[in-house]
Symmetry: C2
Subunit: 320 residues, 2 copies
């Protein structure tokens, strides 16, 4: 498990590199949920998501000679963008394994940061195998998207900043995909504000971590078709899961409609661009899945990378 | 003309009431326009636009007995929302004259702040006549949307905050509708950073202020069908125009496409929700209408009140 010392170390490493993102508040939101809500705006983080933190921290910990050879990962989402951006900033080569089906915009964004894209056909090859062969062939270092102690330590720095800025939170809510953000946030919270509860939120359609949390063994879900694409991971990992079991108080799930409504609300009323995965916490509060009347609630808005087509769907289907 | 002393007074009155909004920066935007750009995020102001500043300041200056009778205005846009919100906060009655054609959402928002809506049929009645009759009948005080010295002083406080936070701007760019924001911003700038140029931006379709600026006499435009609905005013006023002539260095216009592209860019890349009128400055920079290579440029993002239908149009039509 990642230690709090590693998290404090990550904060030093990220100081002046990652943005200490704004904390937004809204009387409208507070009135709507009957509590005092503090939104940690990681949608305004570099590359538009908290993933920059873990990527920078983990690459920073590599031995310089290893780092110089380059880094590879197999995430076409925010972690891939983050690794590409870190490579650009550190001037080291990065390779992102992406399925042939990945949106052109994601390829273009990673290439814009100077990454090399290696395509794989998801029907015939596992992405893990492709990155393993690149590690083998070129000596690249693999940085996985969540199941890595320095990635987790980096992700936890967002919650640590929130606790520094906002005193005495009663509850912290974060999205959960592979559990890197959730476990890091819970680690920060239980070391900084022992009495603050931590709840992780998943889409109903991708409820593997919630089932894992309840059963005590890692459960899986296959390619869930949730709009919250950042949480489509198959399962939590063997590092994140023990941390979730140890530090997290509860897990809950939200419907697709609740996610869509939350993204639309954040857009129209708070003027915040938040991607579906990033809106899980607000979705839980606004749909009543999580309720804490009169309490001080921190919510991590984990990212803002929503594309035009998804936003149009949200505007069409969101209730308002 | 509004004086700098009135603007300083407005700052004191607004202190702790209006948000001192964030200043956003973006390496992507800087690279795109070849300059250092500082975005004053009035889209994150109360009611989602700078209009809160002028409304609060002007209502604050009313004699308490007059204020208690109530305030009326005839703006269905952000100024109307701002007056309604100020009325709610100060616990005084407000009346907003809106055309029968106003969107339901704008009526609902003003009513949500406790305002009374008075409808008028734009085909048969001038909105100014309706508010004049309400002034006559009920003793309400009329607060016009821009042509008012305390409104202008309030609007200028945003630029003053920007100069306080960001040293040595070479250029400040603001949208121009009736000229309240532009004249207030120019007043602040020429008193705080004498060497900083000020440029006002209008849509090509509603270029009355630009023509007025060039000809020296107030020109008009009738109900221009620009997407930048905050700048559809018929003309600048007899208070704002002399201030624009005295303090503003230049006026320029941008195409509808440039406005749409800017709103989409701010959404997708900067994660900022900005309404079309609010994006005029970024549109001018990104389309090359205003160019200041290597300079430090302040841009006021004046508001974020964009509705779903307009955002869908932007996502459909914006080039990216």
């Amino acid at each position: 498990m990642t230690t709090f010392e590693q998290l404090l170390d990550a904060r030093r490493i990220l100081d002046g590199v990652a943005h200490n993102t704004a904390v937004a508040t809204s009387q409208t939101l507070n009135a709507s949920v009957g509590a005092e809500v503090f939104l940690k705006c990681e949608n305004l983080q570099r590359i538009g998501a908290f993933k920059f933190r873990g990527a920078w921290n983990s690459v920073s910990h590599l031995d310089p000679a290893i780092r110089a050879r380059g880094v590879v990962t197999h995430s076409s989402g925010n972690h891939g963008q983050a690794i590409a951006k870190v490579g650009q900033l550190m001037n080291i080569p990065t390779t992102i394994v992406m399925p042939t089906t990945a949106p052109v915009t994601k390829r273009a964004a990673a290439e814009g940061y100077g990454a090399t894209i290696v395509e794989h056909d998801p029907a015939t090859q596992k992405r893990e195998e492709v990155s393993a062969s690149l590690v083998e062939e070129h000596g690249y270092q693999l940085i996985p998207p969540f199941n890595h102690e320095h990635v987790i330590a980096g992700q936890g720095s967002a919650a640590a900043e929130l606790h520094d800025e906002i005193d005495d939170l009663d509850l912290l809510i974060t999205p959960c995909g592979g559990g890197g953000l959730l476990s890091g946030s819970a680690l920060a919270t239980k070391n900084m504000r022992r009495k603050c509860k931590v709840i992780g939120i998943e889409p109903e359609l991708g409820d593997d971590a919630t089932r894992s949390f309840r059963t005590g063994t890692i459960q899986r879900v296959e390619n869930p078709q949730t709009i919250a694409d950042g949480t489509r991971t198959e399962s939590v990992g063997d590092i994140t899961f023990p941390m979730i079991r140890h530090y997290v108080d509860d897990m809950q799930t939200v419907t697709e409609q609740a996610i869509i409504d939350a993204v639309k609300f954040l857009f129209l009323r708070l003027k915040l661009v938040v991607e579906p995965s990033g809106a899980l916490g607000v979705a839980a509060l606004m749909s009543g899945v999580v309720s804490a009347p009169g309490k001080r609630i921190g919510v991590i808005l984990s990212g803002g990378n929503i594309d035009s087509a998804t936003m149009m769907r949200v505007l069409n289907e969101g209730r308002n």
